[in-house]
């Protein structure tokens, strides 16, 4: 099973091979521990910021306490009156979750790199809601390497018709970030 989990992490399994290791991860504590250990090794090797050891369990516990209504409405489902009743409960639920996400966004990673920009000063309920399903991605600082993407994106942004060139300032703002060519 360890070999399969490793292959799963590396994206080497075909679609029909996925179900066995995936269900093992859900049911077999050893398999899950292997999955965690491999990710820890991978994070350490690649120098990614690691979440605190016990984070997963605590996040799961907090999520279990949350009402299940949080989450963006499915794309195509019409959102008539019902939607209006969902929004406040999602908001209220999010108030509790905001503290958690705020903690996740700030505490472990902030010391790992030159954070030029305060990341997600105010975590948004939308963000909280969408993260309930997939695991929250690691927060990264903006680096000068990101600039190329920002310029390429801005060149094609529909915002330009509204505001002219002003938004381009974001794409060159990264030039002064230290530590990168």
């Amino acid at each position: 099973m360890k070999a399969k989990i490793s292959a799963l992490m590396d994206g080497e399994l075909d679609a029909h091979e996925l179900s066995e290791p995936m269900s093992a991860l859900g049911q077999d504590a050893d398999a899950f521990e292997t999955w965690r250990t491999y990710h820890l090794i991978s994070d350490a090797l690649q120098g990614r910021a690691m979440l605190a050891n016990d984070c997963l369990r605590r996040v799961s516990a907090r999520l279990a306490d949350e009402p299940t209504l949080i989450g963006p409405l499915p794309a195509d489902v019409a959102r008539p009156q019902r939607a209006r009743w969902f929004v406040p409960s999602a908001l209220a639920a999010s108030v509790a979750a905001v503290a958690l996400v705020g903690w996740m966004a700030f505490s472990p990673q902030q010391s790992t790199g030159p954070l030029l920009v305060p990341v997600a000063k105010a975590p948004q309920p939308a963000q909280v809601a969408a993260r309930a399903a997939p695991p929250a991605p690691v927060r990264l600082p903006m680096t000068a390497a990101t600039r190329d993407y920002l310029i390429a994106h801005q060149a094609l942004s529909s915002r330009n018709s509204l505001q002219g060139m002003a938004p381009f300032v974001r794409s060159v703002a990264a030039e002064s970030i230290p530590g990168k060519p």
Partner: protein, 318 residues
């Protein structure tokens, strides 16, 4: 307690839901789009996000060829960007580099025409706000409130006589300002063409050509799954980033907010890919790995939207 809070929020939300786009506000928005396209001007503006501010000068000369514009950053290294209808040149003094983004087909630059502004009402409620003076101009505030969580809202301050945008704020669904552009000085009227020359110092700098060409990613096995409501694919190209190998770029837009999806092979990258999400002002960048390719999603949209688009990228070899 939470029930009281819920009820309170419900009233607030019901209040939002009742707000309607007014024809007057829509006319104002059209006026802003026309002013952006038609006016010549020069001015100084401040970009603010988080606790960071940066001052820049912007100069625009409107002409029959679609106009020429120049942005000069006045704080720190003197970075400049020159834009015409079919070319963008980015002058970066610290790396002595000129990045050139040129396309043979100017239609590849997606523009929202003033007559298409009405389409924005599918995703935003557009209303009139207060009147206020900005940098000496009497301005009318127009508010675009998003109808869902997938996009940000905008507050726009437009000069009452010309429609020129003097100030713009992007806000999230809690009303927090994510970023702000404000003119501190502006002169509308004729601009001398010399002011739009490229910087002299840039002679001899390294030139990076983007080499933009049309592309069809689905033919090579790539797909971006269920699109976000309101975000339509508007462009699909291949281009160079940093002199490396070609990168595919798809742009999705709701008419105002845009999200780009970049796909590039992992081997050949100079540095290890960093998987995760980063933010600057209203822009979120999400990176992930799919089938030994790096997928980078860049958008002026909430992190959850950018992530949602990124998570639907799939590769099916044919």
């Amino acid at each position: 307690m939470s029930r009281t809070l819920g009820a309170l929020l419900l009233f607030t939300v019901a209040g939002w839901a009742q707000a309607q786009t007014t024809p007057e506000a829509l006319d104002w928005l059209r006026k802003i789009y026309q002013a952006t396209e038609k006016l010549s001007y020069t001015g100084t503006f401040v970009y603010q996000q988080g606790d960071r501010t940066e001052t820049s000068r912007i100069t625009r000369l409107a002409d029959a060829a679609g106009g020429t514009e120049k942005l000069e950053v006045l704080d720190g290294a003197p970075r400049e960007i020159l834009r015409t209808r079919d070319e963008i040149r980015c002058y970066l003094p610290e790396s002595r580099t000129v990045k050139v983004d040129r396309r043979s087909d100017p239609r590849a630059f997606p523009a929202l025409l003033p007559e298409q502004v009405g389409g924005l009402t599918d995703y935003y409620v557009i209303t009139m706000g207060e009147r206020r003076r900005i940098a000496g101009f009497k301005c009318q505030v127009i508010v675009l409130t998003p109808k869902d969580d997938l996009r940000y809202g905008y507050r726009l301050w437009a000069d009452a006589s010309s429609g020129m945008l003097l100030k713009a704020q992007t806000f999230d669904r809690d009303g927090h300002t994510m970023e702000q552009f404000t003119f501190t000085h502006l002169e509308i009227g004729s601009v001398a063409r010399e002011r739009l020359r490229p910087p002299r110092a840039a002679q001899g700098w390294h030139v990076e050509q983007a080499g933009v060409a049309p592309a069809n990613l689905s033919q090579s096995g790539w797909s971006v799954g269920a699109e976000l409501p309101g975000f339509r694919k508007i462009v699909e190209i291949r281009r160079m980033l940093r002199d490396a190998q070609p990168v595919a770029q798809m742009v999705y837009s709701d008419g105002l907010a845009a999200v780009s999806v970049f796909i590039e092979p992992m081997p050949g990258r100079a540095e290890a890919a960093r998987i995760g999400i980063s933010s600057m002002g209203a822009v979120n960048v999400y990176t992930r790995e799919v089938a030994n390719h790096l997928v980078t999603v860049v958008g002026e949209a909430p992190a959850a939207s950018v992530q949602r688009i990124g998570n639907t990228v799939e590769y099916h070899p044919q």
